[in-house]
């Protein structure tokens, strides 16, 4: 790091709070946790000098040095394994996948080692595994993954995905402080979205893992969703309001363990539910949510639970194809109207 490089570059310490985009909120959160707790460290590909492919860890290496900001080889299994081993020793890794798509190469260690240690011999692994997920940015089949469904059937992994800058910061801090492994998914389309820029408190805060958020209150219909699709749901809700339909939008924030209480409370109020997500429909988290509703709020339902999601294909690259692939606001509108008319 001592050598002159092409661009002399030193990224400033982020503000504490203030106006922030989602990416800046995550960066603040990691930075503050590293300041607060010397056991927190960052590990991943290009997270050091380069600051990460999306600059989430920008500047950390200058502040905390390369012992706590570790650039790794292209070795996702090693990244996950190292985070686990360090966790056993009381350190707290914030491990980055350059794109969440590459989590597949760490899948074995995540599902077999990270998820099961506490259960098997009481050794908890406090570690965060994070990275950019999501489609809609013309990145094709290998840089567009929504990976949550890979992990839903493996007990032992918590999963969160923020939809606001406030939650992004609060959840990354909660994830770092959590005693168990947490997968933290960041929708890359939201990173720098001006619409999500907001004023963050200057004080330390966390957003509790396991608690959903009512993104919009309503009486007639619940849309249960998370991540980038919260915006789609809110757009649809606004449109539907004009049609006299009062839509509630639940932003799950935590995907495992699910906040069943919030989901059921909303559906018991509105009696109609749409589950909306960006991953393909079949085998997606929507099944789990819809099944939970059908099981535990059956008597309150006035209509079928509809799932609105991507089609069952890989994520195609070309804009017209990807737009067809993804659930659009109009699909939500159509589903909502059907339910309202049911």
């Amino acid at each position: 790091m001592a050598t002159a490089t092409k661009k002399e570059h030193k990224s400033a310490r982020p503000e504490r709070g203030g106006q922030a985009t989602l990416v800046e909120a995550i960066r603040q959160g990691i930075w503050e946790e590293m300041e607060r707790d010397p056991t927190v460290f960052v590990i991943g590909e290009d997270v050091g000098l380069y600051g990460g492919a999306f600059k989430v860890t920008d500047g950390l290496i200058d502040q905390f040095g390369k012992e706590r900001v570790i650039d790794t080889p292209i070795s996702e299994a090693a990244i996950v394994g190292a985070a686990c081993g360090a966790g056993l020793m009381g350190m707290r890794a914030v491990a980055e996948f350059q794109f969440i798509d590459f989590i597949s190469a760490g899948f074995d260690l995540l599902t077999n080692y990270a998820a099961k240690c506490r259960y098997r011999w009481g050794a908890n692994i406090p570690a965060v595994f994070r990275g950019p997920c999501g489609s809609g940015v013309r990145s094709g089949p290998f840089h567009s993954l929504n990976a949550e469904s890979f992990f839903l059937n493996t007990a032992g992994l918590k999963i969160v995905e923020p939809a606001t800058a406030y939650d992004a910061k609060g959840l990354i801090k909660a994830a770092i402080r959590d005693p168990d492994p947490v997968l933290y998914f960041e929708h890359k389309k939201l990173y720098r979205l001006p619409r999500l820029r907001e004023e963050l408190p200057a004080d330390d805060y966390i957003v509790e893992i396991g608690k959903a958020r009512i993104a919009r209150e309503g009486r007639d219909l619940s849309i249960i969703t998370f991540g980038a699709m919260v915006l789609t749901a809110l757009d649809a809700a606004e449109e539907l309001e004009k049609e006299g339909l009062d839509v509630e939008v639940i932003d799950l924030r935590t995907l495992a363990p699910l906040d069943k209480a919030s989901i059921l409370a909303s559906v018991k109020k509105t009696n109609r539910a749409i589950v909306l997500h960006e991953a393909s429909r079949t085998g997606g988290i929507g099944g789990e949510i819809a099944a939970t509703i059908a099981e535990e709020a059956f008597e309150w339902l006035d209509a079928p639970v509809l799932r609105v999601a991507s089609i069952d294909t890989p994520v195609p690259y070309s804009p017209p194809l990807e737009d067809y692939y993804l659930p659009q606001t109009k699909d939500v509108l159509e589903a909502a109207r059907k339910l309202a008319a049911y």
């Binding site: 050598t3 002159a4 490089t5 092409k6 661009k7 570059h9 590909e45 290009d46 000098l49 380069y50 492919a53 650039d71 790794t72 080889p73 292209i74 070795s75 996702e76 299994a77 090693a78 350059q98 794109f99 798509d101 590459f102 597949s104 190469a105 013309r138 990145s139 094709g140 089949p141 290998f142 840089h143 429909r281 079928p304 509809l306 089609i311 069952d312 294909t313 890989p314 195609p316 690259y317 070309s318 804009p319 017209p320 194809l321 990807e322 737009d323 067809y324 692939y325 699909d331 159509e334 589903a335 059907k338 049911y342």
Partner: protein, 392 residues
């Protein structure tokens, strides 16, 4: 240490067990722990500061050399055209350059027979072109057009053409090494004498898939040539954070296969080394590792600001070690071609690019509903069309 030794048979001939220690399943080898790395075509300092040319030790005929020149130029100019299209926002995704390292892909792929296979990295456009993929396919693919080889479903060189011996990669680094073992196992079962090249980066060699694939290829003595591109970076990560070996060729020892270090910016050297490796592999010698020393002059992709690159490094390579300059100098100095002849070739390449780019631009974007087709054989499983809600 110069030429790879012929490795001994892969399986024990006898399993005699007596009252001596039965060290079975060990192949006889000249001596233990010997590395077999050839440096015959490795980079050399230029004599007395003279600009670098290319090796003169070659069996290539003049016409073949001009062919190589054409492919080098084609690669560079197709990429430049892609950058243009990118700036015009006609390229939908990112553009990945092989600027400064074109000779590795071009020279090595040129050493294969038509029935042989390559699986390139994103920076091995040259190999794809040598295998007969036309620029129009590349342009259409980058622009996500319906007429592109994936019909707009995938990016850049993420496609394939089995007939031409081209198997496109996926993004996940390392994974193609195992896939190529399958291609070669199949060829063996089909009694074909196919050889394959798999390209891998200094970064990609850190993946588990690379190890599993090359290890399996070595055990099975598959004719797999792995070309390890030492281009100094993996995204921003310098090679000393990827591996603690000095030369990637050293990794051949793990698989008991021969290795070569080649000057990756000398297209003739790349050809010669790969030709030898291919002959060796085809004669059932098994897998070979070739390390090509080169340099990635552009960032990982067009957006990368290369802040991690030491000052002056790129400029040094541009000035002193550009593979196209070196080859052009060689052709002229060795009087293999006149400047006019080379300019003619370049002009023809440019015409081809214009034409192909126009063709690609004239392609429509794909029909949205096409997204739903072809996950499975659709005569068996219907396409994944958007559901109509509550239609019944």
């Amino acid at each position: 240490m110069d030429q790879p030794n012929k490795p001994a048979a892969n399986e024990s001939k006898q399993r005699s067990v007596g009252d001596k220690n039965p060290r079975r399943r060990h192949r006889p080898r000249p001596a233990p722990f010997q590395m077999r790395v050839s440096t015959k075509f490795a980079p050399r300092r230029s004599a007395d500061g003279k600009p670098l040319g290319c090796t003169t030790e070659t069996s290539l005929k003049p016409e073949q050399m001009l062919d190589l020149f054409r492919y080098l130029k084609l690669t560079r100019l197709v990429e430049e055209r892609l950058v243009n299209l990118y700036r015009q926002t006609k390229v939908v995704g990112g553009v990945f350059r092989s600027l400064g390292q074109e000779a590795t892909a071009v020279g090595s792929a040129y050493a294969l027979a038509p029935q042989d296979f390559v699986t390139p990295l994103i920076r091995d456009l040259g190999a794809v072109l040598v295998k007969g993929i036309r620029p129009r396919e590349i342009f259409a693919q980058y622009m996500a057009k319906a007429w592109g080889p994936s019909g707009g479903r995938d990016l850049n060189i993420h496609f394939g053409d089995i007939g031409k011996g081209f198997i496109g990669p996926i993004s996940h680094l390392g994974d193609m090494i195992p896939v190529m073992t399958g291609v070669l196992l199949a060829a063996r079962m089909q009694k074909k004498r196919t050889v394959a090249i798999a390209y891998i980066g200094d970064g990609g060699m850190s993946t588990g898939a690379f190890h599993e694939g090359l290890n399996f290829a070595a055990v099975q003595r598959l004719p797999l040539i792995v070309i390890a591109e030492y281009n100094h970076y993996a995204y921003s990560t310098p090679t000393n954070l990827q591996t603690s070996v000095r030369d990637l060729a050293e990794k051949a020892a793990s698989y008991n296969i021969p290795a070569h270090i080649v000057d990756g910016n000398d297209v003739i050297a790349c050809y010669e080394v790969t030709k030898r490796a291919a002959d060796f592999a085809r004669r059932s010698g098994g897998a070979v590792l070739i390390e090509a020393k080169t340099y990635r002059r552009k960032g990982h992709a067009e957006h990368d600001d290369q802040r991690y690159v030491p000052t002056g490094e790129i400029e040094w390579w541009e000035k002193n070690n550009d593979p196209v300059d070196r080859f052009e100098r060689h052709l002229l100095e060795q009087k293999i071609a006149s400047k006019d002849r080379l300019d003619e070739i370049t002009a023809a390449v440019l015409r081809e690019i214009e034409e192909d780019c126009a063709w690609a631009e004239s392609s429509p974007m794909p029909d949205p509903e096409q997204a739903a087709y072809g996950v499975f054989d659709n005569t068996i499983v219907p396409p994944a069309l958007r559901p109509e809600f509550l239609k019944n």
